[in-house]
């Protein structure tokens, strides 16, 4: 890494430290982030009237000016020219020429890259963020730090957490790429998580989850499908036990409770065991937020069950470490209870290293459930460590999060705290994917085909959702804005929620 990035690294370390020590909220963390970037680049910008405001219609002209002006200053300020032009292959030739003429100074921010993306930036259906970010990823893979710097400088200029989708993507992915460059992915991730957990209350969580459900079928889709499958599979049983490994804060259960309460036969006893996974590495210090929230949720579930007249027990199991290390003994599985396992976003929270995912599936199999319901987001986000694999995974992440952000954008009003929270969570996931080691990652989604393969390999067979469930799902989707639809999976392996013809969520049911 060259001097410039060492400087930047120093800066970022400081700010990261300060944000860790201070009880910074998530938003102040964002501010710090903004500041730190400004500071970083101010080193080069000098006293130039620097504005980090980024306009959608980017006008390269001021930057052109700025570039010239800045050059003189910075050239004298940083006398160590970095000769990273060895990575020439990936670099457009005109840049080479420019670099030479610029007195060997490697950091030539705006002009050339700006020109390079001029079309992309001005285009009507521009996806400039994806274009630039992908180029950045390629440059990283090529270890072309000059170009990386140029592109990141540009991304920083253009990105904004409060702008349009491209600006948001630019901002979140830049954060992740930056962490990756600094080798500070885990630290950044922890900072983000602890910041969000400090802000996490029952109230905010509830608002976010329920609002999301109100405006988008993203999570409700899985809930309706799974509840339908669970109710069908446990029909007629008098004692039910649901092991719930999900990330939707039990919002799935009220409707199930209601459905159970209105079952034509005798109301069964229901036990729900929610497994709350905390990473072993993740210090419990700041992570008290989520358990507290779950406790509150549990008490509400109990109250609601009483209201519904369902004999009900609710347990939260705190599982530290990887989900694949789950032990059956923790779960208090009883022979006389009909067991269902509900996995919503659970499988992808298992790290891809080793055989952990298959291991988890075999654990599920050993529980001898009547049914396992699996909901996963349909993406292939197994980002490789380096090189082409990294670029490919990065590209898929770009696609995926663009779809997600677009779906959020069309569902939520322009300014919405809930949306911001969801986007920040996504930003967190992006850091996890782009900048964190695989063994620690909890966000690496796989495609339905791969999950199906794993599940079948683990001794499960797919159960197709019955007609009633499909009807319920369709009825659900009709209530939302246009663009949502349901697609049957191949080989009766589940159904997809699709948004504008892109499958985004996959729901499926499995029996041993």
């Amino acid at each position: 890494m060259d001097t410039l990035f060492r400087l930047v690294s120093l800066q970022s370390d400081q700010s990261l430290n300060s944000s860790r020590t201070s009880s910074s909220s998530r938003s102040s963390r964002q501010n710090l982030y903004q500041q730190e970037d400004e500071e970083c680049f101010n080193i080069f910008m000098d006293d130039e009237d620097f504005s980090s405001s980024s306009s959608k219609h980017y006008n390269p002209y001021p930057h052109h000016q700025l570039h010239h002006h800045q050059q003189h200053h910075t050239a004298s300020n940083t006398p160590t020219p970095t000769t990273t032009t060895t990575t020439g292959s990936a670099t457009p030739t005109h840049q080479h020429v420019y670099d030479q003429s610029a007195d060997q100074f490697s950091y030539s921010p705006a002009r050339d890259v700006t020109l390079e993306f001029a079309a992309s930036l001005s285009g009507q259906n521009s996806r400039w963020a994806s274009d630039i970010l992908l180029e950045t990823a390629k440059a990283i893979a090529d270890r072309n730090s000059t170009r990386v710097q140029q592109l990141m400088w540009m991304l920083n200029e253009l990105g904004s957490l409060y702008g349009d989708i491209d600006q948001k993507l630019a901002s979140y992915f830049l954060q992740a790429l930056f962490s990756r460059m600094m080798d500070s992915g885990e630290r950044t991730y922890r900072t983000l998580i602890s910041a969000s957990e400090k802000n996490c209350s029952f109230d905010s969580t509830r608002k976010m989850v329920l609002k999301f459900q109100e405006v988008s079928p993203w999570t409700m889709f899985g809930h309706v499908a799974c509840n339908g499958a669970i109710i069908e599979a446990l029909e007629g049983e008098s004692k039910l036990h649901i092991i719930d490994i999900s990330n939707t804060f039990c919002t799935q259960w009220p409707t199930l409770l209601e459905a159970i309460a209105t079952r034509s036969d005798e109301t069964p006893h229901l036990r729900i065991t929610t497994i709350l996974v905390s990473k072993s590495g993740g210090a419990n210090g700041g992570a008290a937020g989520v358990p507290k929230v779950m406790k509150e949720i549990g008490s509400r579930m109990e109250k609601f069950a009483r209201l519904m007249g369902v004999p009900f027990k609710f347990n939260v199991i705190h599982h530290a470490g990887d989900l694949s290390e789950l032990s059956l003994a923790e779960l208090d599985i009883k022979e006389d209870e009909a067991l269902a396992i509900n996995c919503v976003g659970a499988l992808h929270s298992v790290a891809t290293v080793g055989n952990r995912r298959d291991l988890l599936i075999s654990i599920l199999r050993r529980m001898q459930p009547r049914i396992v319901t699996v909901v996963e987001e349909e993406a292939d986000l197994d980002i490789g460590v380096d090189g082409l694999e990294f670029v490919r995974g990065f590209q898929e992440s770009l696609r995926w999060f663009r779809v997600y952000f677009e779906a959020l954008d069309e569902s939520f009003p322009k300014t919405s705290n809930e949306r911001l929270m969801l986007e920040r969570a996504a930003g967190c996931a992006i850091v996890d994917l782009v900048a964190c080691p695989q063994a620690e990652s909890v966000e690496r989604r796989e495609t339905a085909a791969r999950w199906s393969h794993r599940l079948q390999g683990g001794g499960f067979r797919p159960v197709s959702f019955n007609e009633e469930v499909s009807d319920d799902v369709r009825a659900l989707l009709r209530r939302y804005k246009d663009g949502w639809s349901m697609i049957q999976g191949s080989d009766s392996t589940g159904i997809f929620l699709s948004w504008k013809d892109q499958p985004v969520v996959w729901a499926s049911a499995w029996k041993p």
Partner: protein, 526 residues
């Protein structure tokens, strides 16, 4: 009947859930509810003299049993065929309406497992038994394209189609929902539920049109609040029965959870009211059908809009209180009883009840803002008042309150108390969760004061202080629907207590009926 059903379901269709703040309005709009159109026997409580008719499912479902030999047009009723024959200039014969001489007919449900398969539970109406059979035991052939809900009876489906999606659900917190599942999820997470501050669950419903049918509302409320434990409702016969029978039979949009006939209630006889009581109590923790009982309350209450009918129950309530307490009785006993009943009522209709009381000129009852007690606290308090119990249950409290030997001065009470008490004991034994279900079924923050008021003043209830009067006044809501319901309910308790000497099965009948009618569909707020 079909007509009644239609209008009722329309009303329900337009209706939406409202805050208790608004219930005064709904209260007013309640007034022009359906007049009592006709009187007949309570469904499921046939006249012992009635002719019992058992039809096979096929016959029952046959749409056109009476076929014209000329044009092959089929009719459901002989009378209609006769009228039709007149058009062909064929000989025709209409039965004269000589009600007294024509022997009443009652119909059995062909399904052997069904409660109405028992002759003592036969329904007095052919259409009624048909619909019952369809709803409860038939295939749901009619499906709403919009919401996927299915119906077995076409008229139900039609009624639903008219209103599907037009309704709104409003949580106590003020949030409006157009979708049922969102509303349910919200309810589970809403602070209004969590606070448990008081009992008057303000899920009152009012229709935008200003017309509201309580008998529809009741099941809706019941479905939303779903299964707050029902009171052992055993409305008296006499002048109540006809009204009741009609009300309870017109619950087409009745979204009460499906429920198999409670085993206890299947026992047909003089013990029946008692059985019902125990059944509903025991099931309160877990059986959705409780809604049906609530609905019954509501039905009763609807009828109370006829002032003249409302008076007797009041009397009976006071009578009951007297009989319960006796001059020397502990203050506790009737009080905890009244608590329970208030609780019951508030679960279903409190929001209607309280304003009714307030609005009435005679009412001294004025809820003063009091620190809201949590339901848990209330439960504990009740348990304390209920004396020795370790179980903090209102029902329990009720049961315990009965424990002190009835005042010998009141022979009636002493005669009855044991059986009644055994019921409550039964409750205790069978279901400990009753208590919680009871308390929590009625979560509401909107008119906590009223309940608290009751709680607070309860000790002076029998000290002839205003509170006492007020409390009784509550029951005296002659012109007020819910108040009437209250009194009706209380009267029903009296009746229940009284039942060993009375051979009325009215309460059971109505209860069963409300369980029965809606049974073909899921409780729903749509």
């Amino acid at each position: 009947m079909v007509q009644i059903e239609k209008s009722a379901s329309q009303a329900s269709g337009e209706s939406r859930f409202l805050f208790s703040d608004n219930h005064v309005k709904s209260e007013q709009s309640v007034e022009p509810t359906l007049p009592v159109k006709k009187k007949r026997n309570l469904p499921g409580m046939p006249d012992p003299d009635a002719e019992v008719i058992a039809l096979s499912p096929k016959t029952l479902m046959a749409t056109n049993r009476f076929v014209c030999e000329i044009c092959n047009k089929g009719f459901q009723r002989d009378q209609n065929l006769q009228l039709h024959r007149r058009g062909h200039n064929l000989p025709w014969k209409l039965r004269q309406r000589t009600n007294k001489e024509v022997r009443k007919r009652v119909y059995l449900c062909p399904e052997p497992a069904c409660i109405h398969h028992d002759p003592s539970r036969a329904l007095g109406d052919l259409t009624g038994i048909k619909k019952h059979f369809c709803r409860k035991h038939g295939e749901k052939k009619f499906k709403c394209e919009r919401c996927s809900k299915k119906y077995a009876v076409r008229s139900d489906w039609k009624a639903h189609m008219k209103t599907c999606g037009t309704r709104e659900y409003r949580c106590d917190c003020g949030t409006l929902f157009s979708r049922r599942d969102s509303f349910i999820t919200h309810r589970a997470f809403c602070d209004a539920l969590a606070q448990e501050t008081a009992l008057s669950q303000p899920l009152a419903i009012t229709s935008p049109g200003g017309v509201m049918k309580l008998q529809v509302v009741a099941p809706l409320v019941a479905a939303v609040v779903s299964s707050p434990p029902p009171p052992p409702l055993t409305p008296s016969t006499g002048m109540w029965s006809p009204v009741l029978s009609i009300q309870s039979s017109e619950l087409p949009e009745n979204h009460i959870p499906q429920l198999p006939p409670p085993p206890g209630a299947a026992a047909p006889f003089p013990g029946a009211p008692t059985v019902t009581a125990s059944n509903s109590s025991t099931s309160s923790g877990n059986v959705p059908g409780n809604g049906g009982v609530l609905a019954s309350i509501f039905n009763v209450s609807t009828s109370a809009e006829h002032p003249h009918t409302a008076q007797p129950p009041v009397a009976s309530y006071s009578t009951m209180l007297c009989t319960m307490t006796g001059p020397d009785q502990h203050v506790i006993d009737p009080m905890s009883l009244s608590l329970s009943s208030t609780l019951y009522l508030s679960s279903g209709s409190s929001s209607l009840l309280y304003p009714a009381a307030l609005g009435h000129p005679h009412r001294h009852y004025t809820p003063t803002p009091q620190p809201a007690l949590s339901a848990t606290a209330l439960l504990q308090k009740a348990a304390q008042m209920g004396a020795t119990s370790s179980n903090s249950s209102f029902l329990h409290g009720l049961g315990l309150s009965m424990i002190p030997p009835p005042d010998p001065q009141d022979s009636r009470n002493s005669a009855i108390a044991p059986s009644h008490w055994s019921n409550t004991t039964h409750v205790k034994l069978e279901n400990n969760s009753v208590a919680s279900g009871l308390g929590l079924g009625l979560p509401s923050s909107n008119s906590p004061a009223s309940f608290n008021e009751l709680m607070m003043n309860s000790s002076s209830l029998f000290g002839n202080k205003p509170a006492t009067l007020d409390f009784l006044g509550l029951g005296m809501g002659a012109g007020e629907t819910s108040a009437g319901g209250f009194s009706a309910f209380l009267s029903s308790i009296t009746d229940g207590l009284d039942m060993t000497t009375s051979n009325s099965f009215a309460g059971v009948g109505s209860t069963m009926d409300t369980w029965d009618y809606p049974s073909d569909r899921k409780p729903s707020m749509l």
